[in-house]
C-alpha cells in the first residue's frame, strides 16, 4: 500500500503542477474579492509589466490560511473586500509596513494605515434602492426603521459583513439600546426573509415584493450597464438610488483594500502592483468594470454612479466603527433578525 500512496501522490503532484517555482517575475495573491471583479485589473497589470499574477480566491479563512502557512507562504498580497477583514489581517500580524511615495500620494490619508500596513483600493457606499415611482428623494439610515416601511423593506442576512459594518456604524453613533430598537424596527419592516444578495433587493422591488432595499452602490452599475444581461437591466430600470445619510452625518462608505504579506517572497512586485492599482489607469478600470468609487481623487466616478448625486462620506472613521462589529453581530442574533415572521 505504501507504494500505492507514492504513486498517487506523484501522479497528483504531476497533474496539478508542484509548488509554483520562485521565478522573479511572478506575484501571488490571496483574495476574498470575487475573481470576476479583480481579474480585469490583474490582466491589465500583466499586460503592462509582464509580471504573471497567480491568484486564489479564499472567500473565508484567508486569515487561517496565511497564518497556518507562516514563513513558507507563497502569498505576496492579501486582498479583501471589507475593511474589517483587512484590519483582522493586520491584527493577526500577517502584514508588513510599506513605505511608498506613490501610494501616499494617490490615496487620501484616511484610506490607508499610517504605518503602511494596509491600503484602500476602491470604495462603495451603502445605499437605498427605491421603487422608481415611489415619492421618496431622501432618507436617513435611522428612518429605515420607521413604521411607514412596515412590510416594505428588503435586506440580505443581518450577519453579512456589509450589514454588520452598517449596524456597527449605527452602534458607534447611537449606542446599544437605540441600535437594538432600530434593528427591531428594520426586522418588523421586512417584506421577506433577510437572505440572498444585494441584487435581490432590486429584483424584489421590480417584482413588487418590496418598495425599498438596503444594498451596495456598485451593484446598480453592474445591472444598469447591461453587463449582466437584459433581465438585470430591467431590475435596474425599476429602481432609483438614494444616497442615505445618518442624522447629522453622511453616507456610510466601506472599502476594498490590500496589504503586503509579512513573508512575501516577491515584495517588490507586490508594491509595484499596489502602486499600479491606485494609478489613474487602474482606477478607471475599477470605475468602469466594477462601478466603485475610486480612491484616487484624480480618477473619475462612472456616470451611472455619479448620477446618484454627490457622495458625502460620513465623518466617522472606519477604524472607529470596527470595534463595534462583534457587538453588532451579537445584536443581530438578539433581535433574531434573520428569522422571518412578519
Amino acid at each position: 500500500m505504501a507504494s500505492l500512496h507514492k504513486i498517487i501522490f506523484a501522479t497528483s503532484a504531476l497533474a496539478l503542477g508542484v509548488a509554483v517555482p520562485a521565478i522573479a517575475e511572478e506575484l501571488n495573491i490571496y483574495t476574498t474579492r470575487e475573481p470576476g471583479l479583480v481579474q480585469p485589473l490583474l490582466d491589465a497589470f500583466t499586460a503592462e509589466t509582464g509580471v504573471t499574477v497567480n491568484t486564489v480566491f479564499l472567500q473565508d479563512g484567508i486569515i487561517e490560511r496565511a497564518k497556518a502557512e507562516g514563513e513558507s507562504s507563497p502569498a505576496d498580497i492579501l486582498m479583501t473586500v471589507d475593511f474589517g477583514n483587512l484590519i483582522d489581517l493586520v491584527d493577526a500580524g500577517l502584514t508588513q509596513p510599506i513605505q511608498s511615495d506613490v501610494l501616499s500620494a494617490a490615496i487620501p490619508e484616511t484610506l490607508r494605515d499610517k504605518d503602511g500596513n494596509w491600503f484602500a483600493l476602491s470604495s462603495r457606499a451603502r445605499v437605498v434602492y427605491a421603487a422608481k415611482d415611489l415619492d421618496l428623494d431622501a432618507i436617513t439610515y435611522e428612518q429605515l426603521a420607521d413604521e411607514e416601511w412596515k412590510g416594505r423593506l428588503c435586506i440580505r442576512s443581518g450577519q453579512h459583513p456589509y450589514n454588520t459594518a452598517t449596524f456597527a456604524a449605527y452602534l458607534a453613533k447611537h449606542g446599544e439600546e437605540a441600535t437594538k430598537t432600530w434593528l427591531e424596527g428594520i426586522k418588523a419592516n421586512q417584506a421577506r426573509a433577510a437572505a440572498g444578495g444585494d441584487r435581490d433587493g432590486a429584483r424584489d422591488i421590480a417584482a413588487g415584493i418590496c418598495d425599498i432595499a438596503l444594498a451596495n452602490s456598485y451593484y446598480v452599475g453592474l445591472m444598469a450597464s447591461g453587463a449582466g444581461g437584459d433581465e438585470q437591466k430591467a431590475w435596474a430600470d425599476a429602481i432609483k438610488v438614494i444616497l442615505p445619510t445618518f442624522e447629522n452625518g453622511g453616507t456610510l462608505v466601506n472599502i476594498s483594500g490590500a496589504a503586503v504579506a509579512k513573508h512575501a517572497p516577491n515584495k517588490d512586485q507586490a508594491v509595484k502592483l499596489l502602486e499600479y492599482l491606485v494609478s489613474p489607469a487602474a482606477q478607471k478600470i475599477y470605475a468602469e468594470a466594477n462601478f466603485e468609487y475610486p480612491v484616487n481623487a484624480s480618477a473619475e466616478v462612472h456616470p451611472i454612479i455619479a448620477a446618484f448625486g454627490t457622495l458625502t462620506p460620513d465623518s466617522l472613521a472606519l477604524s472607529d466603527i470596527l470595534p463595534f462589529r462583534k457587538r453588532a453581530s451579537e445584536l443581530v442574533d438578539e433581535v433574531n433578525f434573520d428569522t422571518f415572521s412578519n
Binding site: 501522479t11 497533474a15 473565508d60 462583534k326
Partner: protein, 553 residues
C-alpha cells in the same frame, strides 16, 4: 492499540491491512482532534449569548429542516425504489436510472435555480399571472420559496437519491425469496410492501437517511440563499463575522457529538437484526405487470421527483447557459476548471476507494473491537461540516509543509515551498477525510453479503489469503466497489468548502468557479459552470444506476 488486537491468523497480509486501516483512521482523526483542541480555548461568554439568543432558534430550525427533509427523502426514496422494483410498466427502465439524476445537482445549485424559477418575475409565476389575467406581480403574490418549506422541498428532492439508492439495492438483493415466501403464506401483494419489504429495508433506509441528513448539516450555501438560519450558519457567523474560530469549533464539536449520539442510537436500535447473507447472484423479485391507468399512475409517481429534483433546474440552467453563451462566450477558465475537476475527483476516488477497502477489509479479516473502531473513526469526517473539517486539515498540513520547508532551507539551502498545499495533495486529504464514510460504508455492506463460510472454504481449498481476496472477495463485492466509486466521484466533484480553502494558487474547480460568481451575485455567469458540473455528474450517476441492477441469468 495493536497490543490489544487479536492474534493474526496468518501473519503478513493481514497485518498489512490492519496497518493501512490504522493509518487511515489516524489521518481522519487528526483534523477532528485539531478541531476539538481549537475548541478548548477560552471564548468568554460565547455560550451565554448562544444559549439565550442563537441556539433556541437555530436548533429549532435545524431540527425542523432535518425532520422535513428526512420525511420527504424517506417517502420519495423508498416509494420510488419500490415502484421500480415491484412493478413492470412502460418507462420503468428509464425511471430506474433517471431517479438517481438529482445526485448530480449540488444543493446550492438547486436552491438558486428554484429561486429564479419561482421568483415573481420568473416563468412559473409569470404563466400563472397570464392565465389568471393579472398584469403585474404587485397584484398577485404566491408564497415565497425563501422559507422553511422551500428549503425542505429543495433538500428533500435533491437528496432523496441517497435513500433510493440504498433501498433499491436492498429490494433487489433481498426481496425475491422473501416476497415469494410471504405470498405463499397468504400475504396480499399490497401488504408485502408494508409487512415484509419495508421492515427489511429499514437498515438501508437508515443508511440513506443518515447520508441525506449529514448533507443537510454540511450545507451552508442553499440555506443561506433560502434564508433559513441553521446551526451550521451559526458556526459560520461565529467564525467569520466575529472572528472567533474557537467559538465556531465549540459549536461544531457540540454538533458532532450530537450526530455521533444519533448514529450510535440508530445502531443500537437495530443491534439484534441480522440480515441474511446471500452472496449468490441476486435474483430480482418477479415484477407485477401494470397496465392502463395503473401503469400511468406508476409512471407519474416515478417522474415527479425527477422533474422536481433534476429536470426543472437542468432546463433552467440550460436556458440561462445558452443566453450567457450568446452574451459572453465560453471562457478558457471554464475549460481549465473542468479538467481540474475531473482530474482531482478521479485521483481522490482512487485514493478513497483504496483506503475505504483497506478499512472495510481489515475489519472483515480480523474481526474485533480494534478494527471495528478503525472503521468507525474512518467514517467520522462525514459528520463534520465541510468548512470546519477544512480548518482541521489546514492546520496539520500547513505545519508539515512549513517544517519540511524549514528543514530543507536550513540544511540544504533548498525550498520545498508548500509541498502538500501547493500541489493539491491537501485537497486529496480533505476529500478522503470527508468521503471515506461513503466508500467504507458501501464496501462494508458489500463484503458483509459474502458469508464467512466462503472464506473458510477458499482457504481449505488451498487459496492463500491474497488468493481468497482476488478470487472470492473482489469479484463478489465488485458491484459495491463500483457503486462506492461512482458515488464518491460525484461527491468530490460537488465538494465546495474544503476546495475553496485548501486549493493551490490558480487552481479552480467548477464548484469554486461557480461559487465565486454566485458570491458576487452574478448567477448568470455561473450557469455555464453549473451546467457543466451537472453534465459531468450525470455519467457516473447513470453508471451507478446500472451497477445495482442484477445481471440477467
Amino acid at each position: 492499540m495493536a497490543a490489544n488486537a487479536p492474534l493474526a491468523r496468518t501473519r503478513n497480509p493481514i497485518s498489512a491491512w490492519t496497518a493501512v486501516a490504522a493509518a487511515t483512521a489516524v489521518l481522519v482523526f487528526v483534523p477532528i482532534l485539531v478541531i476539538v483542541f481549537t475548541a478548548s480555548a477560552d471564548t468568554g461568554d460565547l455560550w451565554g449569548h448562544l444559549l439565550v439568543n442563537v441556539l433556541p432558534q437555530s436548533a429549532w430550525n435545524t431540527g425542523v429542516l432535518l425532520l422535513g427533509t428526512g420525511i420527504i427523502a424517506t417517502m420519495v426514496g423508498t416509494g420510488a425504489a419500490w415502484i421500480v422494483s415491484a412493478y413492470e410498466f412502460k418507462g420503468r427502465g428509464v425511471l430506474e436510472w433517471a431517479l438517481l439524476l438529482p445526485l448530480a445537482v449540488p444543493t446550492y445549485i438547486m436552491a438558486y435555480a428554484y429561486l429564479d424559477i419561482l421568483n415573481p418575475l420568473g416563468p412559473v409565476q409569470g404563466t400563472i399571472r397570464w392565465v389568471l389575467g393579472y398584469s403585474s406581480p404587485r397584484q398577485f403574490r404566491l408564497p415565497d420559496i425563501r422559507s422553511m418549506w422551500g428549503a425542505i422541498v429543495v433538500f428533500g428532492f435533491v437528496l432523496y437519491p441517497y435513500v433510493y439508492l440504498t433501498t433499491r439495492a436492498m429490494f433487489l438483493t433481498q426481496a425475491a425469496n422473501l416476497v415469494e415466501v410471504s405470498r405463499t403464506l397468504g400475504v396480499s401483494r399490497n401488504m408485502v410492501f408494508w409487512r415484509v419489504a419495508l421492515p427489511l429495508a429499514r437498515p438501508a433506509i437508515a443508511v440513506g437517511v443518515a447520508l441525506t441528513l449529514m448533507e443537510v448539516l454540511n450545507d451552508v450555501g442553499a440555506s443561506q440563499f433560502l434564508g433559513v438560519r441553521t446551526l451550521t450558519a451559526s458556526v459560520y457567523t461565529t467564525w467569520i463575522v466575529r472572528t472567533d474560530l474557537a467559538g465556531a469549533a465549540q459549536i461544531a464539536t457540540a454538533m458532532l457529538t450530537l450526530v455521533l449520539l444519533l448514529l450510535v442510537l440508530e445502531r443500537w436500535a437495530r443491534r439484534n437484526q441480522r440480515y441474511a447473507s446471500n452472496a449468490q447472484r441476486a435474483r430480482p423479485m418477479p415484477a407485477q405487470k401494470l397496465r392502463g391507468w395503473q401503469a400511468a399512475l406508476a409512471l407519474c409517481l416515478g417522474l415527479t421527483p425527477i422533474l422536481i429534483g433534476f429536470a426543472g433546474p437542468a432546463i433552467y440552467l440550460i436556458s440561462s447557459a445558452i443566453k450567457r453563451l450568446d452574451f459572453a462566450g465560453f471562457s478558457p477558465s471554464l475549460l481549465r476548471a473542468t479538467v481540474n475537476t475531473v482530474t482531482i475527483s478521479s485521483l481522490a476516488t482512487v485514493l478513497i476507494l483504496s483506503l475505504g477497502f483497506a478499512v472495510a477489509y481489515a475489519a472483515r479479516v480480523r474481526t474485533g473491537p480494534v478494527t471495528q473502531g478503525f472503521s468507525r473513526i474512518a467514517t467520522l469526517g462525514y459528520a463534520v461540516p465541510g468548512t470546519v473539517l477544512a480548518i482541521g486539515i489546514l492546520v496539520p498540513v500547513a505545519a508539515f509543509d512549513r517544517t519540511l520547508d524549514g528543514f530543507l532551507r536550513a540544511n540544504f539551502g533548498l525550498s520545498s515551498g508548500l509541498l502538500l498545499l501547493g500541489s493539491g495533495a491537501a485537497l486529496l486529504y480533505a476529500y478522503s477525510a470527508r468521503f471515506l464514510a461513503i466508500s467504507t460504508g458501501g464496501i462494508e455492506a458489500g463484503l458483509s453479503r459474502i458469508p464467512l463460510s466462503y472464506d473458510h472454504a477458499a482457504r481449505t481449498l488451498g487459496h492463500s489469503a491474497s488468493g481468497t481476496l482476488l478470487r472470492v472477495h473482489l469479484p463478489l463485492s465488485r458491484t459495491a466497489l463500483i457503486a462506492a466509486a461512482l458515488l464518491v466521484f460525484v461527491d468530490c466533484m460537488k465538494e465546495l468548502p474544503a476546495t475553496l480553502l485548501l486549493r493551490p494558487l490558480n487552481f479552480d474547480t467548477l464548484a469554486t468557479l461557480l461559487y465565486g460568481e454566485a458570491a458576487r451575485g452574478t448567477y448568470e455567469d455561473a450557469s455555464l459552470a453549473a451546467i457543466l458540473l451537472v453534465a459531468i455528474g450525470i455519467l457516473p450517476v447513470i453508471l451507478l444506476a446500472r451497477t445495482g441492477r442484477p445481471r440477467k441469468p
